[in-house]
């Protein structure tokens, strides 16, 4: 069983997606209480009871199936992480088609993507947990369709991370993207326009990627990532223009997919207008997985020496990242809507990671990979928190978030932890990613990038203290109050009751917030694991 973990990781959500969509088919016939069909699912030891609560049954089944499938994925991811730490990278050939030149489908797990997979499955599981109370309302009853797309998207993202085949990656990328478009489109009134925009830009990105893979195939005759690398090394293709063009095309493709500045136009509207659950799933994962793909391409497919030396793009990309960080931080500063603001911060964080990876040294790369993990959780925390606050206050603007520390202490405590991590306050994980990235930047002499990181931290501090201030002070009386004792208003508010969101919404947020501390406190272990693979790849700059 444990040997097949890479396959189970993907099969669980895929299979559950089919079951969930089947559960939705019965919808027109719901008026009569159906005799339980024989193929009713029993997943995760949760027997399906059809006679109770006929109205809500199908929603509940979908929810439970989603949770069960994602739990299985999480367990599989954790198992793989254990295996990788013990015995090194895993190559898994689906159906045992172990062909040398890329006929079979290979799944490959090394230290880095094992960690990324754990992050993805955790985030997906928490987002699914959060969805329980919201999906019905936000998708106007199309629960089973929604969960089908949700599972497919999660599966696609995990597949992109785990696959060892360049073309399969494209297929899974499209699976994730197409389901993602649907997830966005189910949102509010403006969501369909945002989704359309996303489809156009996303498809262009995917086409770039596919074109790049085509060039690679022409030149090497292989689609297997390791195969490609070996052939490039054997035949000395690093000088080949075709390979270089292929690399650039793939790079541009993933830049679009990850919303790297200035190719980010699709992102803010898509995540602002999507249903909150979709935003909680996609905002943390889609960009992060794309960044992982970039890292994967740089490190395992083309090799670091090719990526950094054959094409002299390093300085330009870092420069662009720095400009992107500064620009999107400034744009975030100008936003009045909470979610929009967070979207621009996501774009800024993409700049962190791309810049870090292209610093071409050890600490930069460690920082980029570490930040994939921490930022995934951080973004989840921010979006969950924002969604809950917006749900409870029925507001979209920051200025409406008054007096929340009293009303929703637990939510605000967790949200505050997330905000502190975004600012980079120790000992949350946000601090350590910044530490590595800045250290890498100093070592590489990329001062503009270092300044951009610090600038963005300060802007984040301003942004979030604006929210904290609003939530802490509440509605201030219009007149000048002189000394605090005049602020009698607080005494009368003292009686106002605590008004928290349901537990199924707050619990994932709290777990995500604690996770930020957990990652931060286990930085050394995580970095040791990341270095296992980085050292094999012999990145210049050495371990330190």
């Amino acid at each position: 069983m444990a040997d097949h973990a890479p396959a189970i990781l993907l099969i669980a959500p895929l299979f559950a997606a089919i079951l969930v969509s089947l559960a939705g088919i019965r919808r027109p016939a719901r008026r009569r209480i159906p005799a339980a069909p024989s193929d009713e699912p029993t997943i995760g030891g949760k027997p399906f009871e059809s006679s109770e609560f006929p109205q809500f049954k199908e929603d509940k089944v979908c929810f439970m199936l989603t949770l069960a499938a994602l739990t299985v994925s999480l367990v599989a991811a954790l198992t793989m992480l254990g295996q990788v730490i013990e015995g090194g990278a895993i190559r898994y050939f689906v159906g045992n088609w172990s062909a040398p030149l890329g006929i079979g489908i290979e799944l490959r797990v090394d230290h880095i993507n094992a960690l990324v997979l754990v992050m993805i499955s955790t985030v997906a599981l928490l987002a699914a947990f959060y969805s329980h109370h919201r999906v019905e309302e936000e998708t106007s009853g199309r629960t089973s369709q929604y969960y089908t797309m949700f599972l497919l998207c999660a599966m696609g993202l995990m597949g992109m991370t785990v696959t060892g085949d360049a073309f399969n990656l494209y297929v899974l990328l499209e699976v994730a993207a197409l389901s993602g478009y649907a997830l966005v489109a189910m949102g509010d009134k403006r969501a369909s326009v945002a989704a359309f925009n996303y489809i156009i830009i996303g498809t262009i990105g995917a086409s770039f990627y596919l074109l790049g893979v085509g060039y690679l195939y022409i030149k090497t005759g292989s689609l297997n990532m390791i195969g490609i690398r070996e052939i490039i090394a054997e035949q000395g293709l690093a000088e080949s223009k075709t390979i270089q063009v292929a690399f650039i095309l793939i790079l541009v493709g993933v830049f679009i997919k990850m919303a790297f500045f200035p190719l980010y136009a699709w992102l803010p509207n898509a995540y602002t207008h999507a249903p909150s659950t979709s935003a909680c799933l996609m905002a943390p994962l889609v960009t992060k997985v794309s960044i992982y793909i970039m890292v994967r391409m740089m490190l395992t497919v083309f090799g670091p020496s090719f990526a950094f030396d054959a094409i002299g793009w390093g300085d330009a990309v870092v420069l662009l990242a720095a400009i992107g960080i500064i620009a999107s931080s400034l744009i975030a500063l100008a936003q009045t809507e909470l979610k929009k603001m967070l979207c621009f911060l996501v774009v800024a964080e993409v700049g962190y990671m791309v810049g870090g990876a292209w610093l071409a040294n050890h600490h930069g790369m460690v920082g980029a990979i570490y930040h994939i993990l921490s930022d995934g959780l951080m973004t989840l925390c921010m979006f969950l928190g924002a969604s809950i606050l917006l749900f409870k206050t029925r507001q979209t603007s920051i200025s409406g978030l008054v007096d929340l520390y009293r009303k929703m202490p637990l939510t605000m405590a967790a949200f505050t932890l997330g905000m502190l991590s975004m600012i980079g306050v120790p000992p949350t994980c946000g601090f350590f990613s910044k530490y590595f990235l800045i250290r890498g930047g100093i070592e590489a002499g990329q001062w503009l990038y270092v300044v951009a990181l610090l600038f963005s931290s300060l802007v984040n501090a301003i942004l979030f203290f604006r929210i904290i201030e609003k939530a802490f002070f509440g509605e201030l009386p219009a007149a000048e109050t002189g000394h605090g004792h005049a602020a009698q208003g607080h005494h009368k508010d003292e009686a106002s009751v605590i008004d928290e969101a349901p537990l199924s919404m707050v619990a994932p947020l709290a777990i995500a917030a604690v996770g930020l501390l957990f990652i931060g406190l286990n930085t050394r272990e995580i970095v040791t694991v990341i270095e296992q693979t980085l050292n094999v790849l012999a990145l210049t700059g050495g371990g330190g």
Partner: protein, 496 residues
């Protein structure tokens, strides 16, 4: 001589754990305050129990958590850390007493939040005091900035909001903008742990020019030290309730700032290394400028708490100036001044709060003739003022004496003049208050009704005033601890 023990962690955690009972007993104020008290006493007890080892020249080490290979969060209790921890933890007990009187007397809102964050802030303070390396110090420094924000903005009105904004803008802006990059650069260059040592963790590792920039970044980065031009957060933070101003903005927070600066001089760079590269002069000039200018500004303030705040800025600069002279007596004087000024200034703040609690007055011009109505408070105020000015029979004289000796030792006679001039100015801005209180008839008819403040407040300010006097006659253990630190800091130079 180096021993390992969990005591530093316990000392830190004592007040952090107290948050649980404080929140749990939020509906029962007596139990809530009792738990604060117990935590304060326990904390002081733990700190005290480490004193003998430290006085014998030993250190107590404890690695909490190794973040990365060679980069760790670790505690190391040495003589300097001990000195500061003693000051902070002993004054927390007194402040708790005072805070109970003050908060109840004024019927403040959200007292549970107040006591909880107070306890967290004290944990962070001891964390800074016991930190063994630059990263640990930075981490606790940041925690302290954030945990004091709800205290500073306690009143939750407009004034508090703008004060809180200034507070965080300055403190976070400088620490993230200056100290953080400098710290990471240090780690990058040395690749080591940046553990504080007498010889200096950076000594010989960086070129003089780079070292100069790093020194400036670190000194200005730890802007809780109140060095101009990054001082305006302190007057802004005076919107806080007086117990906060007293403990945090006369003792814990601001002293953490100068503590960090002192550590940067003696632990990160090392006195010997700084003497070689000679950039400390720049800091001396900035500090001297701050001393004189802040005293002048204090003269013009009518709000008592703001006057005290500017006085604090000047006194903090004394400490920075003392260490930046790189002379043994000056270094001893700086450390002594951390303790002496703490006791003197906290007395003054307590008095300001007591006056406000009893009369509702915060402007000096309204405090005429208070001496007969509030004799204990005003007597304590006089003692506190004497200590800060540096007059005999109060502890401040000793530290000031050493600081002045330091300038002579360093042959910086200009700085001697600065210290003397500033003492004169101190007297000018404190003694009119005392004179008006005792020797002029009250103009305000309301004062006939006025009595002393809440007994808890009066008791607290009497205790600190008596301590200020006692420290003049018996400056130990602070003096021994300070001498030990000086010895360790200058030992590497003598050894060469």
């Amino acid at each position: 001589m180096d021993s390992h023990s969990l005591k530093p962690i316990l000392a830190c955690a004592a007040s952090l754990l107290a948050v649980i009972p404080i929140v749990a007993f939020r509906r029962r104020p007596n139990l809530r305050e009792a738990s604060t008290f117990i935590a304060a006493v326990v904390k002081f007890g733990i700190v005290l129990s480490m004193l003998p080892v430290v006085l014998a020249g030993g250190t107590i080490n404890c690695t909490v958590w190794e973040v990365l290979p060679n980069v760790s969060i670790a505690f190391r209790v040495d003589s300097f850390g001990m000195l500061f921890a003693l000051v902070a933890s002993s004054l927390w007990i007194v402040t708790t007493l005072y805070a109970i009187g003050y908060m109840r007397g004024l019927k403040e809102h959200s007292q549970t939040r107040f006591f909880a964050f107070f306890a967290i802030a004290l944990s962070a303070t001891l964390g800074v005091a016991f930190s063994a390396n630059l990263l640990t110090m930075y981490v606790f420094y940041e925690i302290l900035s954030l945990s004091t924000y709800p205290l500073v903005t306690h009143h939750q009105d407009r004034e508090a909001r703008s004060g809180g904004r200034t507070y965080l803008t300055y403190l976070l802006g400088t620490s993230v903008g200056f100290a953080l990059p400098a710290m990471i650069y240090c780690y990058t260059r040395t690749g080591g742990d940046m553990a504080f040592s007498g010889a200096g963790a950076l000594a010989g590792q960086v070129e003089p020019g780079v070292a100069g920039i790093l020194l400036l970044l670190l000194v200005f980065g730890f802007s809780k030290g109140g060095l101009m031009p990054f001082h305006s957060w302190l007057p802004g933070a005076m919107v806080a309730p007086t117990p906060v101003s007293a403990l945090l903005h006369a003792v814990a927070v601001v002293k953490v700032g100068v503590f960090c600066i002192f550590r940067v001089f003696t632990g990160v760079f090392g006195v010997g290394f700084l003497q070689e590269i000679g950039v400390a002069n720049i800091i001396s000039f900035v500090a001297a400028f701050t001393v004189v200018v802040s005293s002048l500004i204090a003269l013009s303030q009518d709000s008592l708490k703001r006057r005290l705040a500017f006085s604090t800025i000047g006194q903090l600069a004394y400490i920075t100036l003392g260490v930046s002279l790189l002379a043994p007596k000056g270094v001893t004087g700086s450390q002594m001044h951390i303790a002496m000024h703490a006791f003197g200034k906290i007395t003054l703040f307590f008095c300001a709060g007591a006056i406000f609690e009893a009369t509702g007055k915060k402007y000096i011009s309204e405090m005429v003739g208070l001496g007969k109505r509030m004799p204990l408070t005003m007597a304590a105020f006089t003692i506190g003022a004497m200590s800060v000015v540096g007059l005999p029979l109060a502890g401040g004289l000793l530290s000031k004496f050493y600081l002045v000796m330091g300038t002579v030792e360093a042959r910086q006679f200009g700085m001697t003049a600065v210290y003397l001039l500033s003492s004169l100015l101190n007297a000018c801005y404190f003694f009119p208050i005392v004179f008006n209180a005792f020797f002029r008839k009250p103009e305000n008819p309301d004062f006939k009704e006025v009595k002393e403040a809440h007994p808890c407040c009066v008791a607290a300010l009497c205790v600190t005033a008596v301590c200020s006097v006692l420290l003049f006659f018996c400056p130990d253990p602070f003096f021994s601890l300070a001498s030990l630190t000086t010895e360790n800091s200058f030992a590497p130079i003598v050894g060469d």
